[in-house]
Amino acid sequence: MTANAAPAQGAPPSRFARAGRNKVGDIALTVASGAAILMVLLILAVILGDVVLHGAPRLSLKFFFTAPQQGMTEGGIFPALIGTLAMVLLMTVAVVPVGVATAIYLREYAPPASLLTRGVRIAVANLAGVPSIVFGLFGLGFFVQFVGGGLDRVFHAGARVWGQPALLWASLTMAVLTLPVVIVATEEALRAVPRELREASLALGATKFQTVLYVVLPQAVPGILTGTILAVSRGAGEVAPILFTGVAYFLPNLPRSLHDQFMHLGNHIYVLSTQSPDVDATRPLLYGTVLALLLLTFVLNLSAVVVRAKMRRRFAGGAQ
């Protein structure tokens, strides 16, 4: 100990003086973690800075509201923007009810230690680890060929209506990809609802169903929204799952029905950067599109965050 080792020079050293070794550790850790944070911020700044710097001049109402022209070296991103929004919306409509229902079953109804419950949990965890291109192939095989092809055989005498890549199949494939996110977030949210509230409801003669519907779920809504935000951000950015299931290289028109193909911002970026006849000419367009995708994800996230904050405020605290 320093206190013992140091000879008395003037005032005796405090018995609480810290051992030098610990101080060195503190400093080293502070420097290392500070450097790590700095690196992360730097990377983010470079990416965002580059995109904003080159992309911002391209952004205009015309850019958002016109279709690509002149072999995609001119014009805007309207079909891709609408296609992405439509896909994300359909995906959300599909994934939230299924994910929330699954989480409610797992958390509220399933016997916790049963083989089935454990099996479902393992399946969900594994689903989250599957590479996204595999989801794309799954979507092609299951939704497009099996479900879509089956529908055609039954209702359209074998004519191709549903049995081809389409907005609906892409959205459903993306929904399967984001399902674990929603399930896990909802389960966490349900877990966080205090037992006291459930007991209060049950002690008043509520059934389990009423308790879940009127007490547990309303409490869990902010958490469910968090899951939805994550799912939406993921869904807006992923391209691999929709590659075989519905996205189009170029479409001058918007999709008119669920069985039409659609354009997607992420795919459009890929197309612009690799498939263009004149890469240099498309570069400004490419920057603009990347910025638009970032903005779209940001706006989607922000709106969900705002809604969540509103829900939390509604009854938290509540004193006048």
Binding site: R198, A200, A203, L204, G205, A206, T207
Partner: protein, 269 residues
């Protein structure tokens, strides 16, 4: 705060009157997994009286209370044997819906647990889930329940405010009002005042006294003075067994078991 309307003289008179049995407990025993939490016990809980359950922590009094309205069933490993009858009707047994049992036997918990809803909606909750639709009926019952819980005058101006903005004592009275709104016959209270300051506790005790005119009240308490103040009958639990059950006066003045005497005189627990 107005003094209790009944003088202690009247109260003692009242305490000595025999009332019909509301809850008849026969050989009730509770297990958690293989472990027995309550030894078989038999007890008659009189109608429109206050029955206090006292004893040191972990003696099984809360477990006992929760087995009177089948709340213990929410713990997966919990198993109950024996018989509990409400007005002669068994509450355990095939075909008995615990939901219906709990509507007739309400409960107030140790920690006040208002829903994160408005004051009004907290009290209306039990009515709505019970299928009551008419706004006027609901509003009338909410007002009556809040008045019974001695909270109406404090909250009538702000029924739409969040219940979480109330003080601790007000929240607990709100929980009592919420339980009363569904008009149960029996009210079980699990240490309803243990988290409250002395003034709020006095409020609750006064309230319990009032409620015993209309309801059968069973209250678990850590506080022996409280049991002596509010109850007509007292049951002393120790290590999962019912040691003694008698009129409160007798328990506190001439207990028949030495264990009871040791406990109430503060020699242990």
């Amino acid at each position: 705060m107005s003094p209790p309307s009944v003088t202690s003289q009247d109260r003692n008179q009242d305490r000595n009157q025999d009332r019909p049995t509301k809850l008849a407990v026969r050989d009730l025993s509770v297990f958690y997994g293989e472990k027995r939490a309550l030894a078989p016990m038999t007890m008659d809980i009189p109608e429109k009286h206050v029955t206090a359950l006292i004893g040191p922590s972990g003696c099984g009094k809360s477990t006992y209370l929760r087995s009177l309205n089948r709340m213990n069933e929410l713990i997966p490993s919990c198993r109950v044997t024996g018989d509990v009858r409400l007005d002669g009707e068994p509450i355990y047994g095939p075909g008995i819906d615990p939901v219906v049992v709990r509507r007739r036997i309400g409960m107030v918990f140790q920690r006040s647990n208002p829903f994160p809803k408005s004051i009004f909606e907290n009290v209306a909750y039990g009515l709505r889930i019970g299928g009551m639709k008419s706004r006027e009926d609901i509003a009338g019952r909410v007002e009556r329940a809040l008045s019974q819980a001695a909270l109406w005058s404090e909250v009538k101006e702000r029924l739409q405010d969040s219940a979480l903005g109330l003080s601790g004592g007000q929240q607990q009275r709100l929980c009592i009002a919420r339980a009363l709104a569904v008009e149960p016959e029996v009210l079980l209270m699990d240490e309803p005042a243990s988290a409250l300051d002395p003034i709020a506790t006095a409020h609750i005790e006064e309230l319990i006294d009032e409620l015993s005119h209309d309801y059968t009240v069973v209250i678990v308490t850590h506080n022996m003075q409280q049991a002596a103040r509010v109850s007509d009958w007292t049951a002393f639990f120790y290590m999962g067994e019912l040691v003694e059950y008698d009129r409160t006066n007798n328990i506190f003045t001439k207990p028949s078991k030495s264990k009871t005497e040791d406990y109430i005189t503060g020699r242990f627990g």
